[in-house]
Symmetry: C2
Subunit: 411 residues, 2 copies
């Protein structure tokens, strides 16, 4: 068995669990940082490990264009290519095809689209999206779906949902026939060759040495897990039908797609609640593309196990920082002389070491270190938030909001 | 005594020594990474510490414009502002005034120049350059000099040298009268307040904690050291005269300025040799603005103790990497499938972990991690090179070239 999900504790609807993947375990509810092009922009893999990241998200669409699936596959898959030996999830490319391409053409067979880089024509089908994701070799991969736009007519939402259901079956069929082609299949040993200090440092005159990096071995029959995606627009009845019919096809995990596409937040919540109740309790539930710090706490309390969003890393690049005291726009002149830490309740390496004045200076001076440090803090804030949520669930405590997570303990 | 230099071993003209500064010791010969705007572009202070950086260079001209001297002074000086508790050296601003300003106007009193950021007018004199450097509070600061252009007539070089000598006296006079105004003067305790894990992490629900950073205390009477700068263009006789008269004024260290300004490398070497022989053996010798990996080895063998250059960090940003096998332009398509490490003889965290294929992908995709990783490797290569040179001197071995430094040991 190469993929497993265990629910270890519950508090209300929220669950604390554990994904067991060929590249290590992932404690849930989990927020997955986005590493679009095999890199979480601004954060090195060492830093991500130090932050406690257990799973990263990669974008099939972007990696398909650069450096190309075949290139990554030949280099041993995404884990080895980017030297990341913990878990990875890839999306199917569907969302980017829909969001980055105004000229896409959807047929029963698949989607014709143009590269946002050079305008060249490409085609994704359920089969080719599976082939791409098998070549990349993430631990968890996603069925190829159509992300229904919002707003859309009832008829349009139903047709789109039906297409996604047919594509889910085709995704699964292709996956089952080809899943053992994953680049690291049947590799019993470590899949990232790491050099020993003695090998690495043949410079005789230098006495010091780096510690060796030893990846966790993958088991001999390990392969990927394919998740299904529930669509159905903003219609609870269609969401229920989509959930039930996706479950009939059968997957080891279920995602809720087609949300956070411009609808009001109350509606997102309503649809999440309406969908979750039809998803099996013993399988992981992944809400795609959310959210703010407040939202990731809220959805975890509803029973969501996995989330991803570019918000913490993208906001960091724009000087927008999430703290226990609310959002901080570090570019503001008011911080130029502020000797305090960015977030006095945060223990990340940025908050422990640097002042708001210094972070403001770096941002105002367009120093690359601004992006690096801002990204580390925002990711730390998201990960610490989820860590605290998991801890509360473990204690059987209901977490109600972000501010409760970050409030000081009662005296 | 807040500044001291000890020669601990020699091999030919080369010396291994130690600078003792109010912010720690610096082993020489040393290469000083450049942190123009209170940041070594792409490398966080943690990384610099891990690389073994003992001294950084800051640029007075750039810091004067952003965030401003008074701002840094109010925030406790440059060490505290950027949270760097090891040694810092600042230049006087003279070189940037000359290299970045075509419209500068030099008088006996000083230099009128325009900001490269907004064109605003500013004036640096020996006194104001000292005031600025005292406000920044580096451990080692530089006299205000005129960097003579090359080529220049004999008469022009002499007049420029005489001006630099008069400015050296004015720099010293101002410095002696004001040196106890350094922001960290008379602070017997740590000058960077660091939070305890208990203070930092008041988030009760999180059990883990970061280690506290405890800066080294500065002694109660510690202050800065002002170095003189030898000019004299490409004329050995004028260099000798400049050295002798600068020594008459009297400084705890001497820099060789006005080189690496476009002259052939053989001439640079000739002038360095012609100047060094007139500098006192018991004082540190700083060759400003050099050089390539080959050059820093060469100048160390001639008896230079300190060097600085933007080359490793700037080249990194352009994908040019220095290795034991020569220069690597990582953007080249030939590296797209190269699974080997950037430099098989290097033990830095980049070479131990990532492949050339991944580094090439990051650069080609314009990922910010490219700059971060390239910068770490290039700095590591420079620092390891100097470390090996020091080790050789300690063993009494003459080091002749970079390739000798990085050659594998004899079987």
């Amino acid at each position: 068995m190469s993929f497993e999900f265990r629910v270890e504790a519950t508090a209300g609807c929220a669950r604390k669990g554990r994904l067991i993947t060929p590249h290590g375990e992932v404690e849930t509810p989990v927020f997955m940082p986005v590493g679009t092009l095999a890199s979480v922009k601004g954060a090195s893999q060492d830093i991500l490990e130090d932050l406690g990241v257990q799973i990263l998200l990669g974008n099939t669409y972007h990696l398909y264009l650069r450096p190309g699936i075949e290139q990554v596959r030949k280099l041993g898959g995404l884990h080895r290519f980017m030297s990341w030996n913990r878990a990875i999830l890839t999306d199917s490319g569907g969302f980017q095809v829909f969001s980055l391409n105004d000229l896409r053409k959807v047929t029963e067979e698949g989607v014709m689209f143009r590269s946002h880089l050079d305008g060249s024509s490409h085609f994704f089908s359920p089969e080719s999206a599976m082939e791409a994701q098998i070549g990349l070799g993430a631990d968890i991969i996603m069925a190829f779906d159509e992300c229904t736009e919002h707003p859309a007519s009832g008829e349009r939402v139903r047709q789109s949902m039906e297409l996604t259901l047919r594509w889910a079956e085709r995704s699964k069929r292709y996956f089952e026939a080809h899943k053992h082609e994953v680049p690291w299949a049947n590799h019993a040993g470590p899949d990232i060759p790491s050099r020993q200090p003695g090998e690495a440092r043949r410079l005789a005159k230098l006495p010091s040495a780096e510690p060796a990096r030893r990846p966790a071995p993958t088991s001999a029959d390990a392969t990927q897990a394919l998740f299904g995606i529930v669509q159905g627009g903003m219609d609870p009845a269609l969401r229920q039908e989509s959930a039930q019919r996706t479950i009939e096809t059968g997957f080891p995990g279920y995602a809720i797609g087609g949300l956070s596409v411009g609808e009001p937040r109350a509606l997102t919540r309503e649809i999440v609640e309406a969908t979750i109740q039809h998803l099996p309790a013993d399988k992981p539930r992944y809400l795609m593309g959310v959210g703010t710090p407040e939202e990731i706490v809220e959805y975890a309390t509803l029973g969501i196990d996995m989330m991803d969003c570019v918000l913490p890393t993208r906001a960091a690049r724009h000087g927008l920082l999430f703290t226990s005291e609310g959002k901080v726009s570090i570019k503001q002149a008011r911080y130029a002389g502020d000797q305090g830490p960015l977030d006095p309740r945060c223990g990340c390496r940025v908050c422990v070491r640097y002042s708001r004045a210094y972070l403001r200076h770096l941002y105002a001076s367009n120093e690359v270190l601004a992006q690096v440090l801002n990204t580390i803090h925002n990711l730390s804030f998201y990960l610490d938030t989820m860590r605290a949520v998991r801890h509360s669930i473990e204690l059987g405590e209901k977490v109600r909001s972000l501010s409760e997570v970050w409030s000081p303990p009662e005296p």
